[in-house]
Subunit: 281 residues, 2 copies
């Protein structure tokens, strides 16, 4: 009998629980938000994190406002039950539909990807002609356009849903001819309209950034996953440095784990995740 | 006060319930199975139907076997609660993972799309070199290959996942250059392997049939939605013709209804649906 393995595993678990600070909760409909988690861990090496990817019900991007709100509430409740001191919505669709609802429902600070993305957009544009790209649901919500208009009513906003970008990324077709044709199909109108800055309003899109930039070198592309991480860094109530500074924890929960998640390993590489677990909401 | 409207509505509802025979239950992860429902209504004009599309959790095609089984059980229970006398799984992924489980769980007959598709495949092939295309999850399950090998162990089966076909159909890009390139990318290897007959193992794929046929005129394409409807017709315990022959009913439930379901209206056109309703499982 190999009694040492379960024992040492149990000991590690007890130690882990004992040193757990209140984590920052991060969620997305799937794995795309792991890019936000990666950036957050880099910027906040002393914080603990808990991530939930709702892979059993993804994608949120073609679903109704009501369904996205219901799912976001269920996910946020899971994070709160796990003692999250802050909720980061690492999903554009969930931010577009549910940020206000979550803010209303919970006492902890809630930060979505849209406001930070818009702030960066306003700093970068030179001609005031702005592009927003995202899922059908995000674009339909007009959440980006509303956020931009609140801060700069005179800017011209051109919004475009790009529903094929996510399946192209998931297929791993990053710089194929097909991908370039799809990019041309979706973005050439923004180019004709002389848009100079575009926010990538979906956590999958940064993976196409280089290819988009090759097709349209004029565009300045804003990566909202980077911007939201900086916003969290600025707003977070810092954890006290414990006995082991830098020994921060990150636990990743998914509502479904399949062996066809080609991107999961790549996304987790070098991120030093303490645990990956399947959970049911 | 307009009291006539609710009253006449209530009367119609009572009449509808009174004349309701036990319906045939049909389900899919989304709207694709409506092509099966259409074919069923054409072949069985005297039967009542209840359809459930699990649009709040679609697609099933990239999810794990366990999650697809859980969702399929929940949907089938809904149909049984609505008095279904038979269950038609109008979804390849759900058939691949959950047909056996549903058969075990319920007393009513359960018919999936795979067996009827395979029977047609075996009738059509001339050289015994067969192609199967579908979602990642359907192909990974190898359910088609297993069903083919059971009936004809000597056939050569070439399976290929085509995950971009569904988003292309949903985008309405049916015969664009991009679509033709994707078709070439996915199917040219089957052509090199001298496959002569291919089963379209996903209810969305028949919408690409013409374009696929233009790119590869040699292929014989099998439409499983047509085949499953014929199998149900052969197996069904016919409803007694009531007072009003031909006055059959069809009710469609969806777990999420959005105004971005571009295909819904087209799919329902000419099908004479009695009710379209949102429901929560």
């Amino acid at each position: 009998m190999r009694s040492t393995t379960p024992l040492s595993w149990a000991r590690r678990l007890v130690e882990a629980t004992a040193t757990l600070k209140r984590p920052i909760g991060v969620f997305d409909s799937g794995l795309g938000g792991l890019t936000v988690l990666r950036e957050l861990r880099r910027l906040l090496p002393n914080e603990d994190f808990i991530y939930l990817g709702d892979t059993a019900r993804l994608p949120y991007g073609a679903k109704s406002r009501r369904i996205v709100q219901r799912y976001s509430m269920e996910v946020a409740e899971f994070l709160i039950q796990h003692n999250a001191k802050q909720i980061v919505i690492a999903c554009n669709t969930a931010t577009a539909h549910a940020e206000a609802v979550l803010r209303e429902a919970f006492d902890v600070p809630v930060i979505g990807v849209i406001e930070p993305g818009v702030r960066a957009l306003l700093q970068q544009t030179r001609n005031g002609r702005i592009g927003v790209i995202g899922t059908r649901s995000t674009i339909k919500s007009a959440a980006y356009t509303a956020a931009i208009k609140r801060q700069a009513p005179d800017l011209q906003v051109f919004a475009r849903a790009c529903p094929l970008f996510v399946p192209l990324v998931e297929e791993g077709w990053i710089d194929k001819r097909i991908t370039r044709l799809v990019i041309q199909e979706y973005l050439s109108e923004l180019h004709r309209e002389e848009v100079d800055t575009i926010v990538l309003g979906c956590t999958h899109y940064p993976l196409l950034k280089t290819t988009i930039q090759q097709e349209f070198p004029d565009f300045t592309l804003i990566d909202s996953s980077f911007e939201v991480a900086r916003a969290v860094q600025a707003a977070v109530d810092p954890s006290p440095t414990g006995d082991k500074p830098g020994a921060s924890q990150a636990v990743v929960y998914l509502t479904d784990i399949t062996d066809q998640m080609n991107h999961l390993e790549t996304l987790l590489t070098g991120m030093n995740i303490d645990r990956l677990e399947e959970t049911r909401l």
